[in-house]
């Protein structure tokens, strides 16, 4: 030991120290036998704060909400067996949307692994298909480095969740602690810069376009490239659309923004996708909810695709100019080359293109009945937008309410719209809002949900009480699994099989029983005052139960497997 007194720490202490050294503020977790040493280590320190959820799914979603709203990795701690399996939905949710999480799962002691021990599951095996990578730590000497690797992998390249499975005996063993400043993994070298030749080709195409179109996605938010995207889009003068995951990457109130695209995208966004001659896809993955029928997708365009993950490129739609690279450096280079060239796309052609877009816009595809005697869900979201001056963090669950929130809340900033797009996980909204609220204690955090979704993680109202998280829940209560009902109305001749929410709780009383404020709003005229009142209660969670029009549907809609030009606009204004 060369005379230097070295301190040996237990695996549990090492783990907690490593989290601290990684700069972790919050760990979302739930205790159990396999992680008791770790909980003891947490108890003895104050640097890393533990947030006790009420269900491990909630822990993963809360960490996810924290990550989405900050750009920093979310951290989860759960016990072996049921703790790990409960977290799987949350892990898969983060995986599908490329969200950086580090999930520590307790495991039975190394000598008991494989013996069907109490609360043993093969966590590494179960999570393998829904993580970016996972580890089983068998020796305490590997623990600190493995934690470092987990954070490195989770946050670089295309981000994603990483699971670290830690057997109980490893948390008891002792070794010297040192946390590596950086790690290098020979088998993992994510690219950043794009290929200069490809970028040059892309710039030439963009400058020669007559009807250019920008289709940007979640990758722009993940890659912190909103500023560059905005600069580039203005420089080019082209219309831009965002995916559901990309909302906020480009300011929604900007005139060049034509709204979301895809299944429930705007008429103008989808038509512009269909008619453009050069398409730049950036940080977006040509999801089937966006593309529709591949053969009919943007048939006349040359396609450029920028993505940090080569496997996203030409997966469903073949592109002409693939660029493997991170959005920020690639956009910077594109901007530089455009400026250097002194060129712009032809003025006359671009003016013609915008004229066409204005005609599409004039259809006013998001119009809804403003004179209804019933509360229209769209109106509630508009009110939320106005009364929060567009500056709230909005989480959502999954269903019609999610689409209305995406369509009617105009996000001007990245990381404000927090929803599960890829997996479409009902139950995401409330726990995600907890993570967001913890990260942004002063901000208004609204959770737009439906009466079916909210029931899936309702227990987290208790966590909100414990930590004083003043989330504003906007429940668009249509007494239906509305999104399911809508499909049954359209495609199953109105046979509403098991999509009706019977025996709903009294949400006002339910909120009150958890120590929160509950409101029930039944008339359109009451929406505005109720929301005002709720938003004034800065330090209380308010559950706003809006009783909405049961039969309202989400429009526009492209049926699965149809082309962008085959949108339904509304019952009265059928196929466009």
């Amino acid at each position: 030991m060369n005379g230097v007194a070295s301190v040996e720490l237990t695996g549990a202490d090492i783990l907690v120290r490593a989290l601290k050294d990684e700069g972790v503020e919050y760990v979302f977790g739930y205790p159990g036998g396999a992680v008791l040493h770790i909980y003891d280590a947490l108890y003895k320190q104050e640097d890393v704060q533990h947030i006790l959820v009420r269900h491990e799914q909630g822990a993963a979603h809360a960490a996810d909400g924290y990550a989405r709203s900050t750009g920093r990795p979310g951290v989860v701690l759960v016990t072996s067996g049921p703790g790990a399996t409960n977290a799987v939905t949350g892990i898969a949710t983060a995986y599908m949307d490329s969200i950086p999480l580090v999930v520590i799962t307790g495991q039975v002691p190394t000598h008991a692994i494989g013996s069907d021990a109490f609360q043993e599951v093969d966590s590494v095996g179960i999570t393998r298909p829904c993580v970016k990578h996972n580890f089983l730590v068998k020796d305490v000497k590997d623990l600190a480095t493995t934690i470092k690797k987990a954070f490195f992998i989770a946050t670089t390249g295309r981000p994603g969740p990483v699971v670290v499975d830690v057997p109980k005996d490893v948390t008891a063993q002792k070794t010297e602690y040192s946390y590596p400043k950086r790690v290098s993994i020979r088998s993992y070298k994510p690219v950043t810069e794009g290929h200069p030749g490809q970028i040059k080709k892309a710039v030439d195409l963009l400058l020669s376009a007559r009807r250019p179109m920008i289709y940007s996605g979640g990758g722009v938010i993940l890659g912190e490239a909103s500023k560059s995207l905005t600069e580039f889009t203005r420089l080019l003068g082209a219309p831009i659309t965002n995916t559901l995951m990309g909302l906020g990457a480009y300011p929604a109130t900007d005139p060049q923004f034509v709204g979301m695209l895809g299944m429930h995208g705007t008429y103008e966004a989808n038509m512009a996708m269909h008619e453009c001659d050069v398409l730049l896809a950036i940080g977006a993955r040509f999801d089937d909810r966006v593309v529709g029928k591949v053969e009919l997708f943007s048939p006349g365009s040359k396609k450029i695709h920028v993505d940090v993950d080569p496997s996203s490129i030409s997966k469903s739609v073949r592109v002409d100019v693939p660029i493997v690279g991170a959005v920020e450096p690639v956009l910077k280079e594109i901007i530089r080359l455009i400026k250097e060239s002194g060129q712009k796309p032809g003025k006359a052609a671009l003016a013609e293109w915008w004229k066409q877009i204005a005609q599409w816009r004039a259809k006013n595809c998001l119009r809804y009945d403003r004179n209804s005697k019933l509360i229209k869900p769209q109106y509630v979201i508009e009110q939320l937008y106005e009364q929060t001056r567009g500056d709230a963090f909005v989480t959502s669950d999954v269903g019609q309410h999610q689409m209305w929130a995406a369509q009617f809340y105009k996000f001007d900033k990245p990381r404000r719209w927090i929803n599960s797009g890829g997996l479409g996980t009902m139950g995401f909204g409330l726990p995600a809002a907890m993570g967001v609220q913890l990260a942004h204690p002063k901000a208004t955090v609204a959770c737009v949900t439906g009466e079916a979704s909210i029931m899936m993680c309702i227990q987290e109202l208790s966590t909100c009480k414990q930590y004083g998280l003043p989330v504003k829940i906007v429940n668009l209560n249509n007494r239906y699994m509305g999104m399911v009902r809508q499909w049954q109305e359209f495609f199953y001749k109105g046979r509403y099989s098991h999509s009706y929410m019977e025996a709903l709780p009294d949400f006002v009383k339910l909120a009150e029983s958890f120590g929160h404020v509950g409101m029930r709003i039944e008339k359109p005229g009451d929406v505005q005052p109720a929301m005002k009142e709720a938003l004034k209660m800065k330090d209380r969670l308010v559950f706003m139960d809006f009783i909405t029009d049961q039969t309202e549907n989400v429009y526009p809609m492209i049926e699965a497997g149809k082309g962008h030009h085959e949108m339904h606009l509304s019952p009265e204004r059928e196929l466009a």
């Binding site: 590494v124 393998r128 298909p129 089983l136 992998i153 020979r186 088998s187 080569p310 496997s311 073949r318």
Partner: protein, 164 residues
């Protein structure tokens, strides 16, 4: 088309299941898969035979490269290469059949590596086609057991799949 993909990956427990899991989860087919450590014990080398359209093969190589444990890979079928597979085959060998089997094994450059009163075990190495050919040449009724190693492959000439 048939492709032979050679993969160098970290010799970690679970590395093999990541590859196998990827193929089953994404519905790619695996014709054969062989794996063993290399001269560098920290690395395993895997040879994987698969088939699919060019688009599918492109996705397969991208998805494999994306696995954190994969250090490097090469699609051997993109260039000149050698492939070999080993087969152990146990056949009923009695009376006159014994001589005939011996002759057949010689023609295919196989070796008889185990003998009993009633059987031979023959070892045969070659391309998959050659092994298929040998099996075809046998009287089906005499075959007692067939074990094939799956394909191993290597690029011809200077080209090699190596780390560093």
């Amino acid at each position: 088309m048939r492709h032979i993909i050679s993969i160098l990956m970290e010799n970690e427990s679970g590395a093999l299941s990541r590859v196998a899991g990827l193929f089953s989860a994404r519905g790619y087919n695996i014709e054969s898969l062989t794996v063993a450590p290399t001269e560098d014990p920290s690395l395993s080398r895997m040879t994987l035979v698969t088939s699919g359209t060019e688009e599918v093969i492109e996705q397969i190589t991208k998805q494999l490269n994306k696995l954190v444990d994969v250090v490097k890979l090469m699609d051997l079928t993109e260039g000149p290469h050698i492939e070999r597979e080993m087969m152990l085959i146990k056949v009923r060998a009695v009376d006159a059949g014994r001589d005939e089997l011996k002759r057949l094994a010689d023609i295919f450059r196989g070796h008889i590596i185990d003998v009993t009163d009633t059987s031979y075990t023959i070892e045969l190495t070659g391309t998959g086609e050659k092994l298929d050919g040998f099996i075809q040449a046998l009287d089906k009724k005499t075959i007692l057991e067939v074990v094939r190693s799956g394909v191993s492959g290597i690029a011809r000439g200077e080209k090699s799949l190596k780390v560093g």
